[in-house]
Subunit: 273 residues, 2 copies
């Protein structure tokens, strides 16, 4: 069956609204885009709608070249009216992901991409974990207690697989974690022996029923567009034997909320200084 | 059988000596200790001996209180004659590990304890990984090609288990990695199904032959002192069926060399500025 994440979604929305209402002024999220093409701008408009609904200000900045980015990110980092900085993909080819995110102040790194944000997770001190990784953890905890469970993460990206594995190993979460990827042998043997499987590989319907034992909790992180349709990394038929998150409307929907919640958290932290 | 790490040890020593000889002046490692008791000072003397043998300057600084540490670490970080900073345990009770290591400049974080150093590993850009984690990776690569192998790490510390799992997932290393810990169920089932097992739990002779399939490569990170004798985390009888690193003289010996190598690397990087 497909998991119904509505109650989780609603509870996060309520929590955000309540926290925003306690702030002296609305939190502000600055979205930086290097490639302001129609599809990116349409994506940003949907983020803006979500932000406004929650009482969060949203402003879009364009930085087409690496040199623009190198001026803009430190400027927004120093701007007291900005609480969170959000950087869309793709980046200009002459700046690396690591170089770009290192220009964002860790206090405003609401996407959790700065190396300090990632390192803090290993210290069991996740201030801003990557939003998708945190969304997956929230969903798992919403469904079950991960303590002692065998959880397999398929995919080793710096936005999902790696930081998620560190979140799952935190004291108090206490999962036993395996990370698999394209070089893994006998993937199905490993996923079949897991109580929870998270799939984040970016390939439409790549994992079918043959990869899962019945009753497994399967979190599908994939958002793949093919012929104007959106597909997850997991074949929908897996829902016949497993608890599966839907795509669209699953992890992605919670991820957007986590980004907004991080912006509120950044605003709360800024007030303390 | 016990692994003979002498050729690996010698090759690292040779590499360090050659690199030191190319520097304009000897690299300098600053050791900071908060509890200068006889056992800590004796440990530091052995480190100093190793440093001198390799042509590395070694100076000991005492900072008994948190307030001393808060002055000393930024001062050493700003001191151009210091290339690496090394902080012994235990710390004063009124400063956290994370707070203390965050006072060390990432460019001099030769122990790999700053959150930036840890986050950089997730970006497949390990500048200074924690020395023990790097020593284990070196030993594994010395014995075999880890690509596609099932490696289980027992222990989830911020100095070994967590960063080692990230090192093993790097592109080009490509292991399939499972991290286990005190909350793991059926540990033996997992370790028996692994081609390589790394044990870093800090309990003398905790894992015996019943945990391993014959022929497994077992890396014993433990250094436990009991009645003036040193024991690993793995029972020595495991060497009858597995390839096992010796304790003492195994991982610990390579770890000290990695600390020295990182100091040389920091000096090489400083010369570029």
């Amino acid at each position: 069956m497909f998991l119904n994440l509505e109650p989780l979604y609603s509870s996060i929305v309520e929590n955000i609204k309540e926290r925003v209402s306690k702030l002296a002024r609305p939190p502000k999220l600055a979205a930086v885009t290097c490639q302001p093409d129609p599809s990116t701008l349409s994506y940003l408009r949907s983020q803006e709608k979500q932000a406004k609904r929650l009482g969060i200000e949203f402003a879009v900045y364009e930085a087409p070249k690496a040199s623009d980015l190198k001026l803009l990110l430190p400027k927004l980092s120093a701007d007291d009216t900005v609480n969170g900085i959000f950087l869309t993909h793709p980046l200009p080819s002459d700046i690396s992901e690591l170089e770009a995110v290192s220009l964002i102040s860790p206090e405003k790194d609401v996407e959790g991409r700065h190396p300090i944000s990632l390192g803090n997770i290993m210290y069991d001190n996740p201030i801003f974990p990557p939003c998708t990784a945190e969304a997956v953890l929230r969903i798992i905890k919403y469904v079950t207690n991960p303590s002692g469970k065998r959880i397999t993460v398929v995919g080793r990206s710096v936005t999902v697989g790696k930081p998620l594995s560190m979140l799952l190993l935190q004291k108090g979460v206490d999962a036993t974690v395996t990370v698999c990827h394209s070089r893994t042998k006998d993937l199905a043997e490993i996923t079949k022996n897991s109580e929870i499987v998270v799939v984040a590989i970016g390939k439409a319907k790549a994992l079918g029923k043959e990869y899962f034992s019945s009753g497994t909790l399967v979190i599908d992180v994939g958002i793949n567009v093919e012929n104007d349709e959106i597909f997850g990394d997991v074949d929908p038929s897996v829902a016949e034997i497993c608890e599966l998150t839907p795509v669209p409307g699953g992890v992605g929907r919670i991820t957007t909320l986590v980004l907004m919640e991080h912006t509120v958290k950044a605003a709360e932290m800024a007030r303390k200084y």
